[in-house]
């Protein structure tokens, strides 16, 4: 075997209380697309941060093209030919494309030359970009292009991509994959981090699977089923949620001509949304982040007020009511962004349970808090939803993301809602907890509640939703039965490639 491009031997990194990476070893050949697979908290991020020089390993060694490689800061890693596209984009909204790219380069050329180079490189790889546009105005797919072009301008030998497709439509993913295959054919190695198994099977040559900081297996993705990879990743056999096919009941929630200006500058206004959700039914709303999801949740929860008749609950107009009044009538919501929106980080679980449960659980009769009742309610959520925490007096901030998410969903589910609206219910949650949350939503629907699930995880929506629609620039697509929808159809409902020109040669 030829010298691997990068050879990782026994990397270990411990943080107080947890060994993030334990004796990790693998190698990537030149031109290879190597997948790093694992659940949240499996140690993928720590590992790539060590390769990129953001974190120093406690022990272990790396070689790059045969020479020892121990970057102490990202600059050294970049100089050695390692480039990284971040999961949460490391871009500056107020600066333009060329300025953003210049910031990521060691010795940027003059601005005019740089703009020309950006146009050339971006066309060569099928990712057209205008260097003069302000990054804050770009779509998620275009922002990712900025990051990729920034990396490509430095002729990287190793390109690290951290969950690159979570913000893309299926069509945009195709464009990205063509670019990555072109790079790999030119000899650039790619370290591709994801937990989306089908993507890895389509793109990658080799896969290393991490679990709890250890390498638990390697495989050739093309010859391994997604199910086998998932089981290696999770460590146990997964049971897909059980769905009970049932005829939906009466209309529980009706949205008719909902238009709403977004309160935030970079937000998306809602434009004439119309849909209904019936009892016992789950309506899935997909779409790339930032296409009106937050505004829709706000309009339904009552944080944003709409026209009186635009939102109806069991036939009664509620568009003008605030969150507390809607909760009393049985419309409950679980927003995304657990710390700060769905939960108050520094308050205890008991207090957080009280904050949304006070009305329906009558935990504050005559304005005085019934602490005993709040405690019982919080303990009930913790027990029924398997929230791993020392007890109801722990601060919300102290819980891991998955545990807090279970708590936030459980808090609403146990209030027996007529209609439940959830946004990103399993975002950043490990597979076992995600399955439990999805099962809880399905069970709630089985008992007659109407559920609106907003999510960017299409697999999740296909798994639990009865009908599916997509938000694109504040408009809702036609709503169609989820069973039988193809990925291509879903992609078109999400807005296709968002008008981004596909510059790959039709060959």
């Amino acid at each position: 075997m030829a010298t691997p491009l990068i050879d990782i031997r026994g990397l270990t990194k411990a943080y107080p209380g947890v060994v993030a990476n334990d004796d990790i070893s693998f190698a990537i050949a030149p031109g290879e697309v190597h997948a790093l697979l694992g659940e949240n908290g499996a140690g993928k991020s720590t590992l790539v941060k060590m390769i990129y020089g953001l974190v120093r390993p406690d022990s272990g060694a790396m070689t790059l093209s045969g020479a020892p490689f121990a970057p102490s800061q990202p600059r050294e890693a970049r100089e050695s030919g390692v480039a990284m596209v971040f999961q949460h984009f490391s871009l500056f909204d107020a600066l333009n494309v060329a300025e953003n790219i210049a910031l990521g380069m060691e010795t940027p050329p003059k601005m005019r030359d740089l703009a020309r180079r950006i146009r050339e490189i971006s066309h060569e790889y099928g990712l057209p970009l205008d260097p003069d546009r302000t990054v804050g105005d770009l779509s998620a797919g275009e922002r990712q292009r900025v990051e990729i072009v920034r990396c490509l301008l430095q002729d990287p030998k190793l390109l690290i991509m951290d969950e690159p497709t979570s913000v893309l439509t299926p069509q945009e993913v195709d464009i990205l994959f063509q670019t990555l295959r072109q790079l790999s054919a030119e000899g650039t190695s790619i370290l591709y981090i994801s937990h989306k198994l089908e993507e890895i099977r389509a793109l990658c040559d080799e896969a290393t699977i991490l679990r709890l900081g250890k390498v638990v297996g390697t495989c050739v993705p093309r010859d391994t089923t997604a199910r086998d990879m998932a089981e290696m990743m999770v460590g146990t056999a997964l049971t897909p949620p059980a769905r009970a096919g049932q005829a939906p009941g009466d209309v529980a929630l009706e949205v008719d001509g909902l238009s709403l200006r977004s309160p935030s500058q970079f937000g998306t206004s809602l434009k004439d949304l119309r849909f209904t959700v019936r009892q016992g039914e789950i309506l899935g709303i997909g779409g790339v982040a930032g296409n009106g999801q937050d505004e829709l949740l706000g309009a339904l929860s009552g944080e944003l007020r709409a026209a009186r008749d635009a939102v109806r609950l069991a036939g009664a107009p509620i568009g003008h009511l605030g969150p507390e009044a809607r909760r009393k009538r049985g419309l409950l919501t679980a927003p995304e962004e657990r710390l700060g929106h769905a939960a108050a980080p520094d308050m205890s679980l008991m207090e957080n349970a009280l904050l949304t449960g006070a009305a329906r659980k009558t935990l504050a009769p005559r304005g005085l808090i019934n602490w005993r009742g709040a405690r019982v309610f919080a303990e009930d959520i913790i027990a029924r939803f398997d929230v791993r925490t020392p007890g109801p007096l722990s601060a919300a901030r102290a819980l891991s993301g998955g545990n807090l998410q279970k708590f936030v969903i459980g808090r609403e589910v146990l209030q027996a809602p007529e209609v439940l609206v959830v946004n990103q219910p399993t975002w950043g949650v490990d597979a076992a907890a995600a399955a439990a949350i999805r099962q809880a939503l399905l069970d709630l629907a089985k008992n007659g509640a109407a559920i609106l699930c907003i999510s960017q995880d299409l697999d999740e929506l296909m798994e639990i939703a009865d009908r599916f629609g997509a938000l694109n620039e504040g408009r809702l697509s036609e709503i169609r039965p989820a069973a039988g929808l193809t990925v291509k159809e879903i992609g078109l409902m999400m807005g296709g490639a968002h008008g981004m020109e596909v510059a790959h040669a039709e060959a």
Binding site: G53, L54, Q73, P74, R75, R78, F86, F89, S90, L91, F92, D93, A94, L95, E99, A102, L103, G104, P108, G136, Q265, F266
Partner: protein, 306 residues
């Protein structure tokens, strides 16, 4: 009343003098805020600069050594703010207010022996031929060196922020400190340098008041100019060009109300005296709707592990 008593040339010339401390303090604060730090201690750093400059000038007999001392004094006080906010991760608003209160008290303490003294005066620019021109001679070529320095510094800051790589990095740190850190830029180091620059500029602005504009020492003599400088940065939407405009506008108001009083215009003095502050409030209300111009990380605490 007699408006003809107001000489246009003198009015414009004194407007420029009145605007200079404002411009110096505000250009420093602009750089600080573009780096993502909100230092509300401008008033405290100005008054510290005013007494440092005054005292050293009196002791050494040189106004220029005094000015250098003023810049050092302002920077030293801002270093305290930098330690509090960048290392102890203290709240920037509270630290800035503390800095102002501390500066006012500290300067009063040092200044006790200097009340009633007269500082050495600074020469005016005099270019034979040019300085004697009617109107333009007095307005353009008849000022003290610090005034020209303030204008040059504003231009230099504009060039720095707009055209240099260091300026781009500084803006990036202010826009999104997490992203800048991920790219390997030294967020804390850059911010400390910006804070020191802001302190030095504020100190210089303060010394300009005690050495040139009102050549004497009085307790609390900066009289809220630091606060106007803070408002001015918002007024200018964090752009040096707007800052120059705003400084001359506010400087003009101050001078105009003094002149109108002298000319005996029948408006109660109090209205005129409060006009700059009133306009500041109105401007702030109007500008609050244009939030997107604000540096993205302004006032937020940066911690590398986040």
């Amino acid at each position: 009343m007699d408006l003809t008593a107001i000489s246009p040339a003198l009015l414009v010339a004194s407007l420029m003098v009145a605007a200079t401390p404002l411009l110096l303090a505000a250009i420093g604060e602009l750089v600080v805020e573009r780096a993502g730090v909100l230092n509300l201690g401008v008033e405290g750093m100005m008054i510290t600069g005013a007494i440092c400059g005054f005292a050293i000038s009196v002791e050494t007999g040189s106004p220029y050594i005094g000015l250098i001392a003023a810049a050092l004094g302002g920077a030293a006080l801002s270093l305290l703010f930098a330690l509090l906010t960048q290392f102890a991760l203290a709240n920037q608003v509270a630290s800035g207010l503390a800095l102002t209160l501390f500066g006012l008290g500290f300067s009063a303490l040092i200044g006790q022996g200097y009340v009633g003294l007269k500082p050495p005066s600074m020469g005016r620019l005099s270019i034979p031929g040019l300085s004697d021109l009617p109107f333009f001679g007095r307005v353009l070529f008849g000022h003290d060196p610090v005034l020209y320095f303030g204008l040059a510094l504003t231009l230099a800051t504009w060039i720095f922020l707009r055209f240099t790589r260091a300026g781009l990095v500084l803006r990036a740190v202010g826009e999104n400190h997490d992203a800048a850190h991920a790219l390997g830029y030294k967020v804390v180091r850059i911010r400390i340098l910006a804070i020191l620059f802001g302190g030095a500029c504020a100190g210089l602005g303060g010394a300009y008041i005690s050495l040139v504009r009102v050549p004497q020492w009085t307790e609390g003599m900066t009289a809220g100019i630091g606060w106007i400088a803070l408002a001015l940065v918002v007024f200018a939407s964090w752009k040096p060009g707007g800052l120059l405009l705003g400084a001359y506008l506010f400087g003009g108001l101050t001078v105009l109300q003094l002149n109108l009083q002298a000319a005996g215009v029948a408006i109660p003095v109090e209205y005129l005296a409060m006009s700059p502050y009133l306009i500041t409030i109105v401007v702030l209300v109007f500008l609050s709707s244009r939030r997107s111009l604000t540096p993205g990380s302004l006032g937020r605490i940066f911690h590398a592990s986040n």
